[in-house]
Subunit: 333 residues, 2 copies
């Protein structure tokens, strides 16, 4: 084993250590819920089926970096995962997606009414968990960060499902992914500062999470275009057939001539496009530099996030967070 | 004009005074929202189409009774109305209802995806409004009360859409309507105690709201059965065709003989039942005493609520709250 592998192994040890704290809180909490079992089962279905838990891991790691008590931060970190899963359940209904994390989506298994309710219930538990586990101003600040993120996610999703109206160029795209994706990651990292009692660091860690979040979404967009379907679990060209105006698409669209653009629009957003048509469109986007451009922009956001960490003293947790940023921009799923 | 009319007029003056404070906060707030107009319009559609505002009026009146600052309570009272409207928008999707308050429901006007999002956005604004307008422990207590109510509403709604499994007798019925309806009214009145800074009165006003809430829902059930459709705005026998296991239904079912029960089930829950069949079922329920029994139970809950008020000194606000309870159990829509 060379040094790099050893260091990555210790990265995953730390990652999984944080993840386990959150996973066990979530499963204990969900199993202890009273009330109709149908609702509990529908609410637990997605969240207990897996997931990377990147957001709560970020919360715990930032708490750790700022010398807060990681155990104290577990309920809030778990609440952030509830919030994320609530948005996934409702998004899957809107997008009519049938699979996620390799399992059937909640509305497919439990029907749409219970899936709407399961999302609402998880969303209620976000603020229930905060207000039952924290006091006074700490509870208020966490509620503020998470409700602001929720408002932003709704705005971003409204834009994302109406791309012709709201995602027409790179500026609108960056605004949309800030709202839809980065704002919750921002709230996750800023919550770490709140939970460590370091109110003077909240705005710094908002910025940190914002940069990570933008990089995270651009990475997703690249994977949605040229990721290995065996690893991502999503069919090749899914985003093309769905007509998603991602960054590589927006960039390359501006650089196409009329005949290329005509070919592009004959495939883009067509659910029944065949694999060869989709591959031609992907090749065109790559040729026009859409993927390279997106990778460069993603790298710039990752570097900004890492720059912020360099303001803090070297520590095992700081190294872990730097590696976490690198993982986010180099992941294959 | 006799004395009673005069007194009722002053009741409505006070009611509308409170209501106006909430209505103007809500319309100013919704109009000031940034972000995609589609989402703002979809979120505003139902809440700006009317509504009695009973919950925020209760919050402001309890704040007033306990000598708190009514102006201070307005954002929280408005947040409670957001919470109520969020549940209505999502319920209407689940129940496939096309009209409410005389206007088309949100999912009919804006489509289901935006209606899900509009509900989620209002729900986010509940906690956004609390955490932006209140501080420390007051914010936490309000968040606690409203998230607990939200969790309860989800549980109650899950039961209500699966009545064969969860609403089989009076005890289960009372539990379901507590969760679905009374818990938010409980949170509304308890919030009044929080907002008046009278933490020692929170549990008393939880109890007060609980009693009002149960009485409110029983009144709804009676109106759903024998209300005047021209006043309620709902078709005669709606609840019968929808197969809703309300209190009058549960009570009279136990008192039917086999042939009556057979007739009942040949109509109950059948959306295509004709008016004569529905009328026969309603008559049967009335004959078996289901409506009288429900009225008596509703009255007992109203009396318990009024008993609680009698612990407080006589005042204009106390008189107002007593009349509000009487209005809730005697309303025609």
């Amino acid at each position: 084993m060379n040094g790099r592998e050893g260091s990555m192994e210790s990265f995953w040890d730390i990652y999984n250590g944080y993840k386990k704290l959150v996973d066990s809180y979530i499963s204990n909490h969900l199993n202890s819920l009273q009330g109709p079992t149908l609702l509990r089962d529908a609410s637990s279905h997605l969240i207990l089926s897996g997931g990377k838990r990147i957001r709560p891991v970020l919360t715990l790691a930032v708490t750790d970096l700022l010398e807060g008590d990681v155990r104290h931060a577990i309920p809030a970190a778990s609440a952030i995962e509830y919030l994320h899963n609530f948005t996934l359940i409702h998004d899957d209904i809107m997008d009519r997606d049938e699979f996620r994390r390799g399992v059937k989506t909640t509305h497919i298994v439990y029907g749409e009414s219970l899936a709407i309710l399961a999302g609402d219930y998880l969303f209620s538990m976000v603020f229930g968990t905060i207000s039952r586990n924290y006091e006074g101003e700490e509870a208020r600040l966490l509620t503020y960060l998470l409700s602001e993120a929720s408002e932003n996610i709704c705005m971003g999703q409204a834009m994302d499902i109406n791309p012709d109206r709201y995602v027409r160029d790179e500026e609108e795209y960056l605004n949309m992914i800030y709202l839809k994706t980065a704002s919750l990651i921002e709230a996750s990292t800023a919550s770490g500062a709140v939970l460590a009692g370091r109110h003077e660091d909240i705005s710094t860690f908002k910025e940190f999470g914002n940069y990570i979040g933008i990089a995270f979404q651009i990475a997703d967009d690249i994977l949605g275009l040229i990721g290995d379907p065996k690893i991502t679990g999503k069919p090749v060209g899914n985003d093309i057939r769905n007509g998603k105006r991602t960054l590589p698409v927006l960039y390359s669209l501006k650089r196409m001539d009329d005949s290329e653009r005509e070919m592009f629009y004959s495939v883009f957003g067509k659910m029944d496009a065949d694999d060869i048509e989709v591959k031609n469109v992907i090749d065109l986007i790559v040729d026009k530099g859409g993927v390279d451009y997106s990778r460069n922009l993603m790298r710039r956001y990752a570097d900004r996030a890492i720059d912020i960490l360099s303001r803090y003293d070297e520590s095992e947790t700081r190294d872990f967070l730097i590696k976490l940023v690198e993982f986010i921009v180099s992941r294959e799923k």
